[in-house]
């Protein structure tokens, strides 16, 4: 392979990873905006998305589209239940306690998944045709196009929700100032519930589309969560657009780093870049300095 075709290969791998990181980061951002909580169970939503998708399409033999929709609904319900049972009851707990509760939740989800699915990784056939296409000497799996398209649709859908619908605008209002949002009649606690449901749903999408490429097992969550969190921070923690762009940046850096430098250091490369950028611009790529002064965590 020539260098050019290698670069194209790495770019597409990076875009695939980037899509997933972007979706995870978006999930972090939504919950962070509504509550100030860093949801450490975000990666587990992705894991559940992948495994439920496997269950729906491989074991129940449902059609792909129906399985996909059911997966999203299922994980969204998990997110909603999680908020109702674990976050909602604690009204005056400190932020760090709430973050630790999401950690306990992530262990719990992992435990349930291990109990239901066992420890082995599960495979899922690609959404359409397993024969890769060749492009300028690079070999590209068709699933990558599915991932990019579905990510784009999800991002557009979320953008529409936040900018064009009343519920979305109410959630943005809560992110800016929960007290003021409450004063104009927005039910702030319900928005917290929405944010958990939404980010669980987004996580489910990420899990369902990545499983045909990477397989999925019960303990995949923490690593995905870590990368997504790095992307959310790089994007300025709280900025939706920022988290998506940063997700792609981290994905591409990681795949280029793995391909061109050393696969052992690939995780370090992304994190070193993250630290360097935060050194220069502490509020992240898309965050403003004044805003970061006000952040709770």
């Amino acid at each position: 392979m020539t260098l050019a075709s290698q670069l194209i290969q790495y770019l597409f791998t990076g875009l695939t990873l980037g899509s997933i990181y972007a979706l995870v980061a978006l999930g972090f951002t939504m919950i962070y905006n509504a509550t100030g909580i860093i949801n450490l169970a975000q990666g587990e939503f992705v894991m559940l998305g992948g495994l439920i998708m496997v269950f729906c399409t491989m074991i129940l033999k449902l059609p792909l589209f129906l399985g996909f929709v059911l997966t999203i609904i299922g994980v969204t319900l998990v997110g909603i239940l999680f908020e109702r049972l674990a976050i909602h009851p604690l009204k005056n707990a400190s932020l760090i306690t709430l973050i630790m509760i999401t950690l306990a939740g992530s262990i719990l989800f992992r435990g349930v998944a291990m109990f239901l699915w066992g420890k082995d990784p599960y495979a899922l056939p690609p959404f359409s045709g397993s024969r890769p296409v060749h492009f300028l000497g690079a070999t590209i799996q068709l699933q990558i196009f599915w991932i990019l398209a579905i990510t784009l649709l999800a991002v557009l859908g979320i953008g529409f929700f936040f900018n064009r619908t009343l519920a979305g605008k109410a959630m943005i209002a809560c992110a800016f100032n929960p007290l003021a949002a409450g004063l104009v009649g927005i039910n702030v606690r319900r928005m917290v519930l929405f944010s958990f449901g939404l980010s669980a749903g987004v996580g489910a999408i990420a899990g369902a589309i990545i499983t045909p490429i990477t397989l999925m097992e019960y303990d995949r969550g923490p690593l995905l969560g870590l990368k997504g969190f790095a992307a959310a921070v790089l994007g300025g923690l709280g900025s939706g657009v920022g988290s998506i762009v940063a997700g792609f940046i981290i994905g591409i850096l990681e795949s280029m780093g793995a391909g061109l430098i050393s696969s052992g250091y690939k995780d370090a490369i992304a994190l070193v870049v993250l630290l360097l950028i935060l050194w220069v611009k502490p509020s992240g790529l898309f965050g403003s300095a004044e805003e970061s002064e006000l952040k709770k965590f």
Binding site: I38, L226, A268, L271
Partner: protein, 318 residues
Amino acid sequence: MRKSDYYPILLMALAVILFPLLGGGNGYFISLLVFMGINGIISMGLSLLMGYAGQISLGHAAFYGIGAYSSGILTTKYSFHPVGAFFIGILFSALIAFLVGKPTLRLKGHYMAVATLGFGEILFIFFNELSPLTGGPSGLSGIPPLTFFGHLLEGTAYLYLVWGFVIFLLLFSLNVINSRVGRALRAVHGSELAANAMGVDASRYKVQVFVLSAIYASMAGSLYAHFVTFISPSSFSLMFSILLLMMVVVGGTETIWGALLGATVLTLLPEYLRGLEDFEVLAYGAILMGVLLFMPRGILQGIRGLLGKRGEVGVPSP
């Protein structure tokens, strides 16, 4: 140190002396107590950082790792004396903590958490990849056990050594809390702006506490390396950093005692759950969740609440 701390410390010292006798020299029992002490040392440092400086670190497993690998590498490959390696580990950890803490603790918000997370992951990767030094993923073996004037320190003797450290560091921490630094940090906790106006250099004290907590972790790492004589990177992962935070929160961030209690509970819990096999992770998660839901201020405060003794414990949690 306050008078109210005297009796608990005496009781603890007594328990440490008597406890090994209960197990009758059972190796498993002794090593469980040693790990409890090692985890207790790190969580005391983290508790100072969280409860008093209001910062969370997601990279303390890395300082623990620095201590362990300094002791391991220097004693096996460069035939250093264990005490020398111990202090080099401390110096190295303190230096890195200073370099990470200095720029991030000036800033408000989550930068400390992110910086320590990034640094912890980078170090974890180095532990894995620098195979000639660290032995890579398969680990570093043959770390010499400690000796004291020719006597091999093992079993109960090692337990006394580790818990000697625990009690010494507990006394030290309680004194730090009631020193100039502790008072300054409590003032910062009340209102950073007001404290700054009174001439308290908040970020300087925060850096000092962070460095101190890194030193605790490094000491624990050295003690760990000489006890198990084999170390591998998996002991120093992000998951362990998060587990340490969990220990402090489960015990209660409001006093140092909470951290010790949390370390004790979370060291024992997995051992008791081991018999459940497939249910282990599930039960572990459920128990942690239950504790946090019903005692959001930690087990120590939860018990105090049940006994009807409210108030009068340290500073409020961040």
